[in-house]
Symmetry: C2
Subunit: 230 residues, 2 copies
């Protein structure tokens, strides 16, 4: 059975990506990170999702991006709230974490090499997150080239492949696809700034995109909010 | 003053690389890792070297490569001893750590972006470590391309540059260059399997290459050995 390492954050996109890898027949090795993000509740979601989709193994790696800083997700900077669609889609947001997907894919590559997998799945999306440079197709392709040069097995001929199956889908399309594959969205969390009990704020970019996605997909939104969003 | 992030392991190569970056006029930001390697004494060496060369800042990041495994440097696998030069230079050794330099450079890139540096120095060497895929020029060049695509500042036009000034030098040439630049080699440690007091084993690939380098450079070897090597 061919194996895949799947990056799993605990959100809608990575849960759907995991379900896609499963549908494609891979034995699943899920990889999550505790990186000093404000929303550590993500990791609990990731564990529940991994279990629900029957992964072979799930590793949670501790990394300390706070030592580096530079993002509203790791530093004491306010997460923007209630931005318009125009604001969300323009420029690079302060929730950008420097080189985050490069770091995440590097770990995924290391694990893939150890477990003898050639396939890595990442749930990046270039539409809703057009401002994030490391969510673009050209970044993914470049990392794939790097993977083949960076590793013992790559040099020996293994054709590492970085799969980004959601890269050109809208959030509504992602949700529709995930629902079709049986993803339990009630287990996922997307909020950048959840309450201490894990309830979503309903006002950050990620909450707004998620709510819009469920609405457009015509699928009931199972999100538990911490308070009524304005 | 232009800034550089310099990867600093605590060995001869990275110490010399740091001294080269200093000579080239950079303000120095040294970056080290605790990655579950057997030789944690490395980090203490790195701290002393960083201080001796007057770095602006030194960060030590904890990363858990043991969670991934796959190397004699992180797992309970014996480090090979007393290999011949032929054995050392042929094939990929079991001291290879999967995707290590990809992970290290990813962190360096993240920090470079945060502190507004465009330059990253890494002391890889393609001669003595020809077996390590992520010590080759083509890997370094590929990572440089990735850096420009992976980051906010890269997309905005910053030309990230990955410097590998030792890549085609022999160990003797590296030591001669370091000596000329005033590197205190007594502060460095190269051993893959040091004793608990930090003394070098004198028998692993790294000890053998180091001893040969000092010998060929005609520079007294300040290495403190744990026992007489056979």
């Amino acid at each position: 059975m061919k194996r895949a390492v799947v990056l799993l954050s605990g959100g809608v996109d990575s849960a759907t990506t995991l379900a896609i890898a499963k549908e494609e027949g891979y034995e699943l090795f899920a990889l999550s990170f505790r990186y000093g993000q404000r929303h550590q509740i993500e990791v609990i979601s990731a564990q529940r999702i991994a279990k629900s989709l029957g992964v072979k193994a799930h590793r949670v790696i501790e990394i300390d991006l706070r030592a580096i800083g530079g993002s509203a997700l790791t530093d004491a900077i306010d997460v923007p709230k209630n931005r318009s669609e125009n604001e969300i889609s323009s420029g690079i947001p302060i929730t950008y974490v420097p080189a985050r997907n490069t770091i995440f894919l590097s770990y995924a590559l290391a694990w893939a090499e150890v477990i003898n997998a050639a396939d890595i799945f990442i749930g990046v999306n270039a539409l809703d997150y057009s401002g994030y440079p490391d969510c673009r197709p050209e970044f993914i392709l470049q990392f794939q080239k790097l993977a083949r040069l960076a590793t013992k097995t790559g040099v020996e001929g293994k054709r590492y492949c970085i799969h980004a199956p959601l890269i050109d889908l809208t959030k509504a399309q992602i949700i529709a696809k995930g629902a079709k594959l049986g993803v339990q969205f009630s287990l996922t969390i997307s909020c950048y700034d959840p309450a201490s009990d894990g309830g979503a704020c309903g006002e950050c970019d990620s909450c707004l995109l998620r709510a819009k996605g469920f609405c457009e997909a015509g699928i009931p939104d199972p999100t538990r909010y911490a308070k009524l969003s304005s």
